[in-house]
């Protein structure tokens, strides 16, 4: 089957959301690795930062779910 | 008197024919199915074969055709019996080389007469 070269606005947005879903773990990995690059601020503050990133990932994943959950069709 | 090989799967009919013929002095051997009938004919070497058309294993028409193809049995008198009584059966029997063809039911005198006719004394 031929795939269309350009998409309408709706499908275009959905496709970018899928891209976001694919990128999310890599973004998370970078954020998780950040403490290694900082001069040490102590376990407590580092821990707080980690929890914040963690919670952020959960939130973004939950939002993405709203758009992606119902799409179990073929990969486009 | 001669030797009759009766190939018939209905035991009661076979019994009736055997009774009629042996009372007239014929020696009657009964073979109850189509499969192996040809070998039975070869073994018994009768003077005449009475052959039922519908037999389990192999039909009477098949047996007859094969008998006619075998030089030993090509001239053996064969009296064929059928209960279906259809025109087609008679044609098929004649094509296969039957000597006489009779439909069931038959009268006792008739079958005796046919056997006597087919086996010259």
């Amino acid at each position: 089957m031929k795939r269309p070269l350009f998409l309408a606005r709706g499908p275009y947005r959905r496709r970018r959301l899928r891209d976001a879903a694919r990128i999310l773990p890599f973004a998370g990995a970078v954020l998780f690795l950040m403490p290694l690059l900082w001069p040490s601020r102590g376990t407590g503050l580092n821990g707080l930062y980690m929890l914040a990133v963690w919670l952020g990932l959960v939130a973004v994943a939950a939002v993405l779910r709203l758009w992606l959950a119902d799409e179990s069709g073929p990969e486009e | 008197m001669g030797h009759v090989l009766l190939i018939e799967d209905e035991p009661n009919i076979a019994e009736a024919i055997r009774f009629i013929l042996s009372r007239d002095g014929w020696h009657v051997t009964i073979y109850p199915e189509g499969a192996g009938a040809l070998e039975a004919v070869r073994c018994v070497a009768p003077d005449i074969v009475i052959l039922d058309a519908m037999l389990p294993g192999q039909s009477g028409f098949d047996i007859l055709t094969r008998m006619r193809a075998d030089p030993d049995m090509a001239d053996l008198p064969v009296l064929m019996l059928t209960a279906r009584g259809q025109h087609r059966d008679r044609e098929a029997a004649e094509k296969a080389g039957v000597s006489r063809f009779m439909t069931k039911p038959f009268s006792n005198a008739e079958i005796l007469e046919q056997v006597r006719l087919l086996v010259p004394q």
């Binding site: 963690w54 994943a61 | 009661n12 019994e15 009736a16 009629i20």
Partner: protein, 867 residues
């Protein structure tokens, strides 16, 4: 706390879990699965990732090395928030290919190679055994905290109890696609207990002992130690290892893929599972810090228990104890199920199959269940033995990570197989072999001192400094080298080898799982007997499931009866169903045994691929039209054949009737003529007897013909009433006694099922039953003839099966036995040849059906009546 009280509370908790599992199974059986198969339960079941090692050990690890424990949760978090990319594909493939375990997935992807299945199974067992031992140890340790006296044998009883639970709820059904609802529900409940316990202890520590979040943050900053500083290499390496483990651990694969009942649940788990992990770890550092302040000499691994005890909160400690107990038990249960499935499908079954060649004989179902049960017991016995031999203690503590690195060896073959069509069996085998060898040499054996650190005197072979790479952390060193060599072997092997056709088929199916076009089929060429396939399928799937499957398939093909044409597409579907029960490699081998031919050749593959490409050219609409046309053409062809047959049959039917009437008439006439003359008295008596018998035969024939013509015209008068099925069967059996018995017939019945009340014409139904029973009595040729009458409610009706143990009806005759004058026994003496034709008409008049049931080992008829 006295020891007995502790045991009592444990036992009550376990009984509670039994009840939960039992009720869940009951509800699932009743079809009430809305709650049981919700995304929430799915997410909670994933929590078996958090074992006792993390429940207790996270605090211990935090006390020793600060934030590093978080890496164990970061990996899974990253994998799950990225579910759209990897996990979705994994779950889709798992469902489509009916994968039963991670070993099965690898085996299936690489051309259903059992060698790879065995390899993954062995790695998994080796990696999981110490892990199970670790769980047993944690239970023993936590007992020790409470119990005033020390008892031997705690671990043994725990192991036995867990084996019992797992066998009871883990091997109820065979098909992996029928999920273990009971186990999963119990696991979900345990997940809640774990989380509540961890949070409760944490809240108590932060607000009960410390003065709230600000105070605790201050304490943490104050307690900072140099060894808590982040180590970049371990930080990244452990995150990677845990990410790999959450996919590759057999128990995770089990709940993630095999127990998944709806792909959409993954979307929920994508954020909810990381949230769960967050909940489990948010209070770890505070607990560790407070613990170190309060109990400087205590074992940090047990702070979760000892802090509440020290603060006089026995109830909280008890809750924490149950949380730890839950963590240990749920991990062991699921790990045992997953490992047992792998052991049974990839090691026990292939051996049994090779020894017995039982594709069409023997009850495979029972053997599979038995081998799974034994495997479960074996896995737990192994874990227990390891616990005893290692003597517990420090050697076990590091086992969690060692295990992670071990199972990570499967990752290259798994991910490579999912995304790279060029990955081959040889490559996967090389990668697995190299990686596992390095893991065993550099990490597993040294972990219990089974190998000398000098590498047999060869400098570059030292287990902790392979190729001279000194100064690395041993764990990272092993992770680095094993995966590097694993990936290298995988790539080189794949690039240099040429895959078999089956591998290429499976590779295309896995990598392109989201493409709509159905993949080319793995079966082509000649055809096995559908009946043999049915017999085999029944042995594995069970009778009803197999019959339903074949019936549906036959209907889809537009055929009457239970035997579809063994088309490649059907073989493919059948194989997948079987794979759900016994694994892909075994299912393939079993079908192969029946089909008795090579699956595919390269030429077949190319032909099928061309065909598939051509079909893709058509639009979906054209395609469906074409199918419609094919179906119509087939229906027309059928109708035409039927008409021709009918015309011929009418002729033949007249001939038949003539024959059937004239035959008795001939005897009657001949003997009555004889009797008119002079006959000896004893002859006369016998001949009169014959006349009598033939007259009866003639009458019966006329009765049957009359009955049949009334039935066929639809003018039949039915006397409908409510009647118990049992009464009709009783009557039929009594009446069939009078049929001249050729054999004694032993009848097996199921009086419970026969209590059904039917609304039908009892006389007519009894007529059908009498016919079937009499047929069994007359024709069953077994040495000890038996008749089973099986009653089942199904399809808005009831089926009554009459199954004897004779030779059955040969396949060619099965199509015609319901025709008039169709006789198997040609002697013509037994009956009028109208019995089954009448049965068919009676059933049609009663609104039901009667059909021959192939593949039951003897002659079998199924009567179906609407309820």
């Amino acid at each position: 706390m006295p020891f007995n009280l502790l045991v009592l509370s444990c036992v009550s908790y376990v009984i509670f879990l039994f009840l939960v599992a039992f009720i869940a199974e009951r509800r699932a059986a009743a079809g009430k699965v809305r709650w049981l198969r919700s995304p929430l339960v799915y997410t909670l079941s994933l929590s078996i990732y958090c074992t006792a090692w993390t429940f207790y050990g996270a605090v211990g690890s935090a006390a020793a090395s600060g934030l590093e424990f978080m890496t164990i949760y970061m990996g899974p978090t990253l994998v799950f928030v990225g579910w759209w990319g990897l996990l979705r594909k994994l779950v889709r493939i798992g469902r489509q290919q009916r994968v039963t375990s991670i070993a099965d997935l690898i085996s299936s992807r690489y051309g259903k190679s059992n060698l790879l299945g065995v390899a993954v199974t062995l790695i998994s067992v080796v990696a999981a055994t110490p892990y199970i031992a670790l769980q047993l140890q944690s239970v023993v340790l936590s007992f020790g905290v409470f119990a005033s006296e020390d008892r031997e044998g705690t671990a043994l009883w725990v192991a036995i109890g867990l084996a019992l639970f797992t066998v009871l709820f883990g091997t109820r059904n065979l098909d992996a696609n029928e999920r273990h609802t009971g186990v999963v529900t119990a696991i979900a409940v345990e997940a809640v207990v774990k989380l509540v316990a961890a949070l409760a202890v944490g809240v108590f520590v932060v607000w009960g002992i410390a003065g709230g979040p600000a105070d605790i943050l201050g304490r943490i900053q104050a307690a900072d130690r140099p060894e808590w500083a982040l180590e970049p290499a371990r930080w990244a390496g452990l995150t990677f290892a845990s990410a790999a483990a959450v996919i590759c651990l057999p128990r995770m694969f089990q709940v993630l893929v095999v127990e998944n009942s709806d792909e959409k649940h993954l979307a929920t788990a994508g954020w909810a599972f990381p949230l769960y992990l967050l909940g489990m770890s948010v209070f770890v550092i505070p607990i560790a810090v407070v613990g170190l302040e309060m109990l400087p000499d205590g074992n940090p691994d047990l702070f979760v228990l000892t802090i509440p005890l020290e603060a006089g909160r026995g109830d909280l400690a008890m809750l924490a104890f149950l949380g730890g107990f839950s963590s240990a038990t749920s991990m062991v249960i699921v790990a045992a199920i997953a490992l047992a499935t792998m052991l049974s499908n990839h090691i026990v079954m292939p051996i049994w199959l090779g020894l017995m060649r039982p594709a069409v004989s023997g009850d495979v179902r029972r053997v599979v269940l038995l081998s799974r049960r034994l495997s479960i017991a074996g896995v737990l016995a192994l874990g227990y033995a390891y616990f005893r031999l290692s003597g517990g203690g420090a050697a076990l503590a590091s086992i969690g990570l060692i295990s992670f690195v071990g199972v990570a060896q499967v990752l290259p073959a798994l991910v490579g197989g999912l995304f790279w069509r060029g990955a081959t069996r040889i490559g996967a085998a090389m990668g697995l072999a190299l990686g596992t060898a390095v893991w065993i040499y550099t990490l597993f054996l040294p972990s219990f001192g089974a190998i000398s650190p000098d590498g047999f005197g060869i400098d570059w072979l030292r287990p902790h400094a392979l190729f001279g790479t000194e100064g690395m952390d041993p764990l990272l060193h092993a992770l680095f080298w094993s995966l590097l060599l694993n990936i290298a072997g995988f790539c080189v092997g794949s690039i240099l080898s040429f895959p078999s056709p089956m591998e290429r088929l499976q590779g295309a199916a896995f990598v392109g799982v989201f493409d709509t076009a159905p993949g080319p089929s793995g079966w082509s060429g000649g055809a096995p007997e559908a009946e043999d396939l049915l017999v085999m399928a029944q042995r594995i799937l069970g009778e009803e499931t197999a019959l339903t499957l074949f019936l549906t398939e036959a209907r889809a093909q537009g055929r009457a009866g239970y035997l579809p044409d063994p088309t490649p597409a059907f073989l493919e579907r059948l194989e997948r169903r079987l794979a759900g029960a016994v694994g892909a490699a075994t299912a393939h081998a079993m079908i192969f045994q029946v089909a008795g031919r090579a699956a595919v050749t390269v030429a077949d593959l190319m032909a099928v691929a061309d065909e598939a490409a051509q079909i893709m050219e058509y639009s979906a609409r054209l395609e469906s039209q074409r199918q419609e046309l094919t179906r119509t053409a087939a229906a027309l062809r059928d109708a035409n054949a039927k008409l021709t047959r009918l015309a011929e049959q009418k002729d033949a039917f007249l001939g038949q009737i003539s024959h059937e009437l004239r035959t008795p008439m001939t005897s009657i006439l001949a003997f009555s003529e004889i009797l008119m003359g002079d006959v000896a008295p004893e002859d006369a008596r016998r001949q009169a007897g014959i006349i009598h018998a033939e007259a009866i035969r003639l009458t019966r024939l006329l009765d049957d013909l009359l009955d049949l013509s009334v039935l066929e015209s639809g003018q039949v008068q039915l006397h409908i009433s409510d009647v118990r099925l049992r009464a009709v069967l009783d009557r039929a059996l009594a009446a069939a006694e009078h049929v001249r018995p050729r054999h004694d017939l032993t009848v097996f019945r199921d009086s419970g099922a026969e209590a059904l009340v039917l609304r039908t014409d009892p006389d007519r139904l009894a007529q059908v039953f009498i016919n079937l029973i009499a047929n069994a009595r007359k024709y069953c040729d077994a040495a000890e003839p038996q008749l089973r009458i099986v009653v089942r409610a199904q399809d808005a009706g009831v089926t009554v099966d009459f199954i004897d143990n004779g030779r059955g009806i040969p396949r060619p005759a099965q199509a015609t036995i319901f025709e008039k004058f169709a006789r198997l026994d040609e002697s013509g003496q037994a009956g009028t040849g109208l019995g089954l034709a009448i049965c068919r008409e009676v059933m049609a008049n009663l609104g039901g059906t009667i059909a021959y049931l192939p593949g039951q080992g003897g002659a079998a008829f199924r009567v179906w009546l609407p309820l």
